[in-house]
């Protein structure tokens, strides 16, 4: 380990021409084979050693009240059942709320503490953990535990029924910009106006893999924890602070994740439960949630946006008002950026934004793919379409007429914004110019055909991150960082960057992630991993080059003794003279001749905030959608999508395209299918399984065409990348709604847009 750790903003930017051997290529996943052959192990699949115990969580049947009695006798009488943890026998744990506040916890509030009180705060609240020798036994014994409750009848569960309780959050994670101009006055004076409500209900992440934690109880009470998480360090610090453990007592590992979508940004309660049981019983314990229990924690909050827009007679936006109410729990204030987009997307001098929260008797909402963005943009982009129709202007033309050249929310220029090019290329590929402006005019048999467009937008952030690298004498490079691969392709793209920067073959690079012993990285979310970890990997490999070169220079008869680093290139595992590529040393030669087994380096990459803060940094997209709506039956099929995305440099065109495809599919899902159904009498989500919680099936998905629009950005980060995890979903639901309007003349503003809205 080097003593002098390099901290920096990264040496220099990746040159545009460095779209080289690996970067910018459609490279298949390095972990693809392991995944399809079942060799990639997930949290519940680690069966280290024998004698592992299984915990089964009991969920509350009531939404609000108190547990008045618990009877565990019958459960305990089963041979093989070790114990049942409830609020009555859980040991004293951390006292203060801050110990339970993980990296993605809302500011303030009191994070939920499983099994620490008789109080029931939400339906399906975990109220007991049954621990037994087999999963089947634990599950059976769970049916033998009897609870009595005092049920509180008055429930607040529906957003629309509780709007009177709306209030401003104490701390907003994304402060709402102050009003600019006088939006109400400008609205009154506008030639064309739209004033409508836009609603969407609860949605759950539902990744394929259930939440699971396998805790291996080792020597000296050391815990090795295989957890389903988007941040091993987040899980580790949570466990450490809640259970009072030191760093070396809890190692968290998560090599693969069967889908996150934000659900793994907070440690879920199975982690707490498994660690609790393991520490108490001094045994290894596994806890896996059921699909039903996947509906028992965070979700995309139900949201109501009241939008008013005004335009002048010549189609210029004069006023934008978005007053939004969304839900949170009674114990935390969950906020997301829903309304700020309304003040940023279009040139408009009069803007009034507001965001309030209604506390409901539900678990705290949780970031879900493009949290807030997908919500705010769907409402805004339908409203814009409505205004364009009123003004008699083509909706794409209308957007171009009101294009924002700078971010008026922040009064800053964009670091780059090729949205205009997205509109142009997307329209061309889609054939937008052939669109009949008349709604309801295109008929094919029993189907009405409609075309719609919408804009997408998402943040392009970079966070601090560390990375370390080790080059061994056989020329193999290992790079490590505690980030995660939640299915996005992190393993692959980081391997590409390392190979490209150091000039080695990808096969010679091993990228390690998902282990709390690796160098710090932030949570895997927010579409910042490429920018953040990618920059750290670049920095550490740049640093490795310097170290290697220094070593090479010191060799006896070194061909580089009088040469500067700028005058050599690192390629094909060699250092070679720029001027004469026949003069080179292989990396192995350098190490072997220096009698060094390996070279190590550890760096911290920091975003250049001074420079970045001068700009507003976002990814943009233009989504074009064709729908066919059965004129009598109201069934909607999305038959064609073109999504043109400007996201800076594309490191891997294959995994990038997959991200956008997945995002678009989810956008269609959000538009037409997804809906967690609440029973207002019981305060309980009722369709808690994948037969009734609908996501699209293959038959729902037709043609999706992805375009990456070239975009050069020197500001966002040294790689010039912007991240693609979320942009694909943003705007799709609006484009579908706009297409349905164009097909039928009916404007749908409630998600999901199911057929009964069209009868």
């Amino acid at each position: 380990m080097s003593l002098l750790q390099k901290v920096g903003v990264s040496a220099e930017n990746l040159e545009p021409q460095e779209t080289g051997k690996y970067i910018g290529k459609p490279i298949s996943r390095v972990d693809g084979r392991a995944k399809v052959t079942g060799n990639a192990k997930y949290a519940a699949e680690f069966n280290v050693g024998t004698g592992i115990l299984h915990g089964f969580v009991i969920s509350s049947p009531i939404a609000k009240g108190k547990i008045t009695a618990v009877n565990i006798r019958q459960a305990l009488s089963q041979k093989g059942v070790l114990t049942v943890f409830t609020h009555l026998n859980v040991p004293g744990l951390a006292w203060f709320d801050r110990s339970y506040r993980d990296q993605d916890a809302p500011p303030g509030g009191s994070p939920f503490r499983p099994l620490q009180s008789d109080e029931i705060l939400f339906s399906q609240q975990p109220i007991a953990l049954v621990v037994a020798e087999t999963f089947e036994l634990a599950r059976y014994a769970a049916t033998l535990v009897h609870f009595e409750y005092e049920v509180k009848e008055e429930l607040s569960v529906g957003l629309e029924q509780n709007l009177d309780k709306a209030k401003k959050p104490e701390k907003h994670r994304f402060p709402v910009p102050k009003p600019r101009g006088d939006a109400e006055k400008a609205l009154k004076e506008s030639a064309f106006t739209v004033e409508e409500d836009y609603y969407h209900g609860y949605e759950h992440h539902n990744p394929m893999e259930m939440f699971a934690s396998t805790v291996i109880y080792g020597d000296d009470d050391r815990l090795t924890i295989y957890d389903k998480t988007q941040g091993v360090l987040n899980s580790q610090s949570y466990i450490k602070s809640v259970f009072g453990l030191s760093d070396d007592k809890a190692r968290v590992i998560s090599p693969f994740m069967g889908g996150g979508f934000g659900s793994g940004l907070r440690p879920q309660y199975q982690l707490y439960m498994a660690v609790l049981a393991s520490l108490e019983l001094k045994r290894s314990v596994k806890v896996v949630l059921t699909r039903q229990q996947m509906f028992s924690f965070g979700h995309r909050p139900a949201t109501l946006q009241k939008i008013a827009l005004g335009a002048s007679a010549d189609g210029k936006l004069q006023a934008i008002i978005n007053k939004c109410v969304s839900e949170t729990s009674t114990f935390e204030e969950y906020t997301e950026n829903i309304v700020n987009w309304s003040g940023q997307m279009y040139q408009c001098d009069n803007v009034l934004l507001d965001h309030q929260l209604v506390p409901l008797d539900l678990y705290t909402p949780l970031d879900m793919r493009a949290p807030g963005g997908v919500t705010g943009m769907y409402a805004l982009e339908i409203a814009i379409d409505e205004l364009a129709v009123k003004a008699g202007i083509d909706p794409l033309e209308f957007r171009l007429m009101n294009y924002a050249e700078k971010d008026q929310n922040l009064d800053k220029p964009f670091s780059s914004k090729e949205l205009r090019e997205c509109y142009r290329q997307g329209a061309e590929r889609f054939g937008w110019s052939k669109r009949n402006p008349q709604a309801g005019a295109t008929v094919e048999g029993n189907n009405l055909v409609g075309w719609g467009v919408a804009t997408g937008c998402w943040e392009a952030n970079q966070m601090p991150s560390r990375a370390k690298a080790m080059l061994s004498a056989d020329g193999k490079l290992t790079v490590g960082c505690a980030t995660a691969d939640i299915g996005t392709g992190t393993y692959t793209v980081m391997t590409q960057i390392a190979a490209e920067v150091l000039g080695v073959a990808m096969e010679d690079v091993l990228f390690k992630l998902g282990d709390s012993v690796l160098p710090m990285s932030p949570l895997q979310g927010g579409s910042w991993t490429m920018a953040t970890v990618g920059s750290a990997v670049k920095l550490v490999c740049d640093d490795m080059k310097t170290k290697l070169f220094k070593l090479a220079k010191q060799l006896e008869n070194s061909p580089f003794s009088n040469i500067k680093e700028e005058d050599v290139i690192f390629s094909d595992s060699r250092i070679q003279l720029k001027a004469d590529t026949q003069k080179y040393l292989t990396f192995s030669e350098v190490l072997q001749k220096s009698e060094v087994n390996y070279l190590e380096t550890d760096t911290t990459s920091l975003p250049n905030m001074l420079e970045q803060n001068k700009y507003s940094r976002f990814t943009h997209s233009a989504v074009f959608v064709e729908v066919k709506v059965d004129k009598d039956l109201g069934t909607v099929h999305v038959t064609r999508v073109v999504d043109a995305v400007a996201a800076g440099r594309i490191i891997n065109t294959k995994t990038a395209r997959s991200q956008i495809l997945g995002g678009v599919v989810w956008g269609i899902s959000m538009a037409l299918h997804e809906d967690t159904v609440m029973d207002n009498n019981f305060g309980r989500f009722m369709n808690h399984n994948l037969a009734e919680y609908h996501v699209p099936v293959n038959a729902d998905i037709k043609d999706i065409d992805v375009i990456f629009v070239e975009e050069h950005d020197d500001i966002v980060n040294p790689l010039g990348v912007k991240g693609l995890g979320e942009i694909g979903i943003v705007g799709v639901a609006a484009a579908v709604s706009n297409a349905i309007y164009h097909a039928t003349g009916k404007r749908l503003r409630n998600l999901p847009m199911q057929l009964d809205q069209l009868l």
Binding site: P61, I62, S123, E136, R139, Y140, T143, T290, Q292, G445, N446, D632, L633, G634, T635, H637, L672, H673, V677, M678, D679, N681, F682, R684, M686, N687, H688, N689, A691, E692, H694, P696, V697, N698, A699, D700, Q754, L755, D756, L759
Partner: protein, 331 residues
């Protein structure tokens, strides 16, 4: 899920004999419905009797000149069977509109008849449900009922029978062959499933321990004018909001005989003799289809979230009959 014992039997007698030995025994065929219900603690059998090895595993000619479908033949093998495709294409269409290929590969014909409602509350033991726990109340009335019934409902239960296959079987006038402690019985399809009334816990008219052995399809020709139309919230792998099985015999643009049954709307496949009589002898056109729809939907009642089904069913009937009559190409 509770603890249970398991036995595999190879004759109906052995299966029936197993019944007396246990407190709450259940037959298991494909298991695609029963196991889900066991995992949710909705069904808690203490003993599973695996009937997959009984000899009711063939599709063969029936004594009356029709076709006999063994109760243990899978839905997939039935739908793709050449005789079924040729002589009862409506049935193939209906089966293939249901579930997913994987499920159809496991699901049996007997199990399909016996599958239970998909009412959310029935599946969730945290909520009252008269079907699951008689007398506890019906949570769906006044609760969330988008997928539930509009016809033949009772104050006790508004559940639907979720099968697609059964809607076609009802339209085709199938009969169900059953064996049990009291010997063999033949049950006309219309009498197999029942309405909830004040006994919503009973889905059908079988006696405890009866085994469905086969289903007989009568020797009739509905091979030219037929349509199974299923309307659902996604393109596949979803239960019907409304489905229509329509089959016609036509002569010179006139309907000679009609069969019409609805799925997704009632506790049983909903067939109306009156509507069929009304169609017979009429010209196949929108007007007569709408009249038939009004007749079959007489007395339909919405419960809020599902009220749209009344209008949807009407439109679906018109569409299905239009396509069946060949007035429009099948979608």
């Amino acid at each position: 899920m509770n603890k249970f014992t398991f036995v595999r039997v190879d004759s109906p007698d052995a299966a029936i004999a197993e019944l007396d030995e246990h407190y709450s025994p259940k037959f298991i065929a494909g298991g695609t419905n029963l196991l889900d219900l066991m995992k949710e603690n909705v069904e808690c059998p203490d003993h599973l009797i695996d009937i997959n090895h009984l000899a009711f595993n063939k599709i063969e000619d029936s004594p009356g000149g029709g076709l006999r479908l063994g109760a243990l033949v899978t839905n997939a093998d039935t739908a793709w069977n050449q005789e079924v495709e040729k002589r009862y294409p409506l049935l193939s269409q209906a089966i293939l509109a249901g579930a997913s290929p994987q499920l159809r590969n496991m699901a049996t014909n007997g199990g399909n008849l016996m599958q239970r409602t998909r009412c959310y509350y029935f599946y969730d033991t945290a909520t009252p449900c008269n079907k699951r726990e008689p007398g506890s109340g019906c949570s769906a009335i006044g609760g969330y009922n988008r997928i539930l019934g509009i016809l033949g409902t009772s104050e006790q239960c508004i559940a639907t029978h979720p099968s697609d296959m059964c809607v076609a079987l009802a339209a085709l006038g199938a009969t169900v062959n059953v064996t049990g402690k009291n010997g063999n019985r033949i049950i006309p399809f219309a009498d197999f499933h029942r309405l909830p009334g004040d006994r919503p816990d009973l889905d059908n008219t079988l006696d405890a321990g009866d085994i469905v052995t086969s289903i007989d399809l009568p020797n009739e020709d509905f091979t030219s004018y037929y349509k199974y139309l299923k309307i659902r919230d996604r393109a596949s792998y979803a239960f019907a909001l409304v489905s229509v099985a329509a089959a016609l015999k036509m002569e010179d643009g006139k309907i000679k005989e009609a069969r019409l049954a609805l799925g997704g709307v009632a506790h049983k496949p909903w067939r109306s003799n009156e509507a069929e009589v009304l169609l017979a002898g009429n010209t196949a056109n929108k007007d007569s289809f709408e009249k038939a729809a009004d007749v079959i939907l007489q007395g339909a009642k919405g419960y809020g979230d599902n009220t749209f089904k009344i209008e949807l069913a009407k439109r679906a009937i018109v569409r299905a009959l239009t396509e069946a009559a060949g007035l429009e190409e099948q979608a």
